[in-house]
């Protein structure tokens, strides 16, 4: 049971965090919002967009404002798993092997252009993201909480990219698509970057304890039975063999969302309600979360790919077809 003080503290901390991020990032409110949901839900975020849209800046700003340890891994085709996780090196003084942690050992890890690395290296993140631990040389090393992986990727159509394996994609709680800024936002970006000293990262407004407290508060938010039932029905409707699947899903979807998708719906709905200043979850929360939670979890079949169907269209059809409680 949470106290009023904890509730107030968590709310104030996140109000400051949003202000700090808004001072640096122009536009992209939706992406920032999804990033905060991810933080509050204890998940990981996959940010997709063409180069130059400020993905890396957003992650750096977030990490800095949160006051968390931050590390950046630039994924390249020759990157090896040991470069991420760390390795055992021989220490001459003690004449024994000593574990040297890799960049994964941080609160906020920016995996930049994650789909430029080979699948083997990408797979090195699997254990860290799900189990929040790393096993090297037979020894397991826990990761420090809060632990958030914010990965960016270029669209897979671009040169020199490797699609992420489904198992790894599923480990990202949400996926955010960074869109191109409109004219007003572009002008503001130009002004901030070219006038004065340019962009300066914000000072930390939170600490790891605040993040964990906020997660506890959000965890106390109630999601009643009918809303859980609604979320479950939405997930089941994404399966082509499901009884409640709409026609579009039956035609164009190869694999539907996993149970992790259902968790993402509920966690995200709670976080959204918290950030909206409410104390209860609504159906609108679940519907709004649906796209970032399931966008990367639904695999289209060949027919869907060939006919240019997008997952967004499928999800819109799912929302239409599933009646609310």
């Amino acid at each position: 049971m949470i106290t009023e003080k904890e509730l107030t503290q968590a709310q104030e901390a996140f109000t400051k965090l949003r202000e700090a991020i808004a001072a640096v990032i122009v536009g992209q409110e939706r992406v920032v919002e999804i990033a905060l949901w991810t933080l509050l839900s204890g998940g990981h975020l996959l940010v997709e967009g063409v180069p130059g849209l400020g993905k890396t800046l957003l992650v750096r700003t977030l990490a800095r404002a949160l006051g968390l340890s931050f590390s950046r891994i630039q994924f390249t085709p020759d990157l090896m798993p040991a470069d991420i996780l760390g390795t055992n090196v021989f220490a001459e003084d003690t004449e024994s092997f000593r574990f040297v942690p890799g960049p994964i050992f941080a609160n906020v890890v920016l995996a930049d252009e994650i789909n430029r690395a080979t699948p083997k290296t990408q797979a090195a993140l699997l254990e860290a993201m799900q189990e929040r631990q790393v096993t090297v040389g037979g020894k397991t090393h826990p990761l420090e909480e809060p632990f958030v992986v914010l990965a960016t990727q270029n669209p897979i159509e671009m040169e020199g990219t490797y699609p992420l394996p489904e198992a790894q994609v599923d480990r990202f709680l949400f996926k955010a698509e960074v869109s191109f800024p409109d004219k007003g936002e572009l002008v503001e970006i130009l002004r901030r970057n070219t006038e004065g000293e340019g962009i300066t990262l914000p000072d930390p407004v939170m600490n790891p304890g605040d993040v964990l407290l906020a997660r506890r508060v959000v965890g106390a938010y109630p999601v009643s039975g009918p809303l859980m039932d609604y979320a479950a029905r939405l997930i089941l409707a994404t399966h082509p063999n499901g009884l409640a699947a709409p026609e579009a899903v039956r035609r164009y979807v190869q694999y539907g969302a996993s149970p992790r998708g259902a968790l993402a719906l509920v966690f995200g709905a709670k976080a959204r309600a918290f950030l909206a200043g409410r104390y209860h979850v609504t159906m609108d929360d679940i519907r709004d979360i649906l796209e970032p939670a399931l966008l990367h979890r639904i695999i289209l079949n060949f027919r869907g790919e060939a006919e240019g169907i997008t997952v967004k269209e499928i999800l819109q059809e799912v929302v239409r077809s599933v009646p609310p409680p």
Binding site: L7, P222, R278, Y279, H280, M283
Partner: protein
């Protein structure tokens, strides 16, 4: 926390009351609908059952309410959305701080649950639909029972009885109001036929010990199918009425109007093959006179085992149970007396005619309705073991109606066959 629990209990009580009212209203409407339908069909409805509708109210109140689903709907009705459900969940978990905050935001204590009693739009629509249905049933004309027509048990023992019955069933006022009926009857020779039947009854009364053949005079009638079974087995009664009854129908009825297909004035080529054949046979039969003692039994190969059984069974004779075939059977088969029995396909006696429209009746809410009948042969029996074909009475009535019989002819025919039936029973 206790305050919120009380609030929730209060809302749930209103919810049960709402459900009770809804069940009660729909129960009453359902019972009203059922009772109306039952009354239309069967004429009455047990009044005790009408109280069942109001029982829905108590059922609605007594049944347990699923709180989560109800609070979700109630929250929407009361304008607080899912907050009411969220508050319930917080109270259930004991999250006092969040519950207090939520109660402040949505003003949980200011909710007015009596507003839940106002019906929703879908409920109103359903109720309106049921009421419209009730109204439609109420305004519909009475449903006609298509029950089988049975012969009346009244014994027509005398001409007076027949006359009384005719008086009852076709009063003079009706004839006065419908001059066309009288005219049509006259055209068709029905008045004469009626006199003939009445005369037959009088003759029957005049020969008490005998076994009069009431229909013998129709043996050579144009519609000779019926009369040919009786042939010349006639009652020896010498009363004037009997003599009148013995007269040939053609004599009694006079020349038939040309509009009738079996009338003498109708050229055979204008008739259907069966009708033309019958007309010719009737003529030849009439020319041979009563003295013809042809005893040829000509079985008719009519479709249906009933016809077959009739053909195989011995025809009743004056002595009772003899093998005397009826006069006219051979004639009907198109053979002269003495010739070998021939088979006449009764199918020829039927001819398909286009549907004829009968009377037009106006039904409230539907406008004019015209009943039509398609005259066609009876269904063919299949196989050797086919069951006797017994046409449904309703179908017979429709067929007769479709043949454009003049008004009153049906009743006359019915009485004619009634006489025959009595003859069969008594003989």
């Amino acid at each position: 926390m206790e305050v919120f629990q009380r609030e929730f209990r209060r809302i749930l009580r209103w919810g049960r009351l709402r459900r009770g009212l809804r069940f009660g209203i729909f129960g009453v409407l359902a019972v009203a609908t059922i009772s109306l339908v039952v009354r239309r069909i069967f004429g009455s409805f047990p009044p005790e059952l009408t109280a069942l509708g109001s029982g829905g109210f108590f059922v609605g109140i007594a049944l347990p309410l699923a709180p989560e689903r109800f609070l979700l709907r109630a929250g929407k009705r009361l304008g607080v959305g899912e907050a009411l459900l969220g508050a319930w969940e917080l109270a259930r978990r004991g999250e006092t701080v969040l519950l207090e905050k939520l109660a402040e935001v949505v003003e949980l204590r200011e909710l007015r649950p009596p507003r839940l009693l106002i019906p929703e739009k879908p409920e109103l629509a359903v109720m309106a639909g049921i009421l419209a249905f009730l109204l439609a049933i109420y305004l519909l004309p009475p449903i006609r029972q298509d029950s089988p027509i049975t012969l009346p048990h009244t014994e027509l023992t005398s001409q007076d009885d027949v006359r009384e019955k005719v008086q009852e069933e076709s009063p003079e006022e009706t004839r006065a109001l419908r001059p066309d009926i009288t005219e049509a009857r006259s055209d068709a020779g029905l008045n004469a036929l009626e006199e003939f039947v009445e005369g037959q009854l009088v003759g029957e009364r005049g020969s008490p010990g005998g076994n009069p053949r009431a229909a013998e005079g129709t043996a050579e009638a144009p519609s000779g199918d019926i009369a040919d079974r009786e042939g010349k087995n006639r009652s020896p009664s010498g009363s004037p009425a009997s003599q009148q009854a013995r007269k040939e129908p053609s004599e009694v009825m006079g020349p038939a109007p040309p509009s009738l297909p079996l009338a003498e004035g109708t050229p055979p080529e204008d008739l259907s093959p069966g009708a033309a054949g019958r007309l010719g046979e009737a003529k030849s039969s009439a020319s041979e006179g009563e003295g013809n003692e042809v005893k040829v039994f000509a079985p008719r190969a009519v479709p249906g085992p009933q016809a077959g059984s009739m053909a195989e069974a011995p025809w009743p004779s004056e002595e009772g149970g003899g093998e005397l075939p009826p006069e006219g059977t051979a004639e009907l088969a198109g053979k002269t007396p003495g010739e070998a029995p021939a088979v006449v396909e009764d199918r020829e006696l039927w001819h398909i005619t286009p549907p004829r429209a009968t009377e037009v009746e106006t039904r409230p809410g539907e406008g004019p309705v015209r009943t039509s009948a398609l005259l066609s042969p009876p269904p063919e029996p299949s196989g050797d073991e086919a069951i006797p074909y017994i046409p449904p009475l309703g179908g017979v009535k429709i067929s007769l109606g479709g043949r454009g019989l003049p008004p009153g002819a049906e009743e006359l025919i019915r009485r004619y066959f009634l006489l025959l039936a009595r003859e069969e029973v008594s003989g």
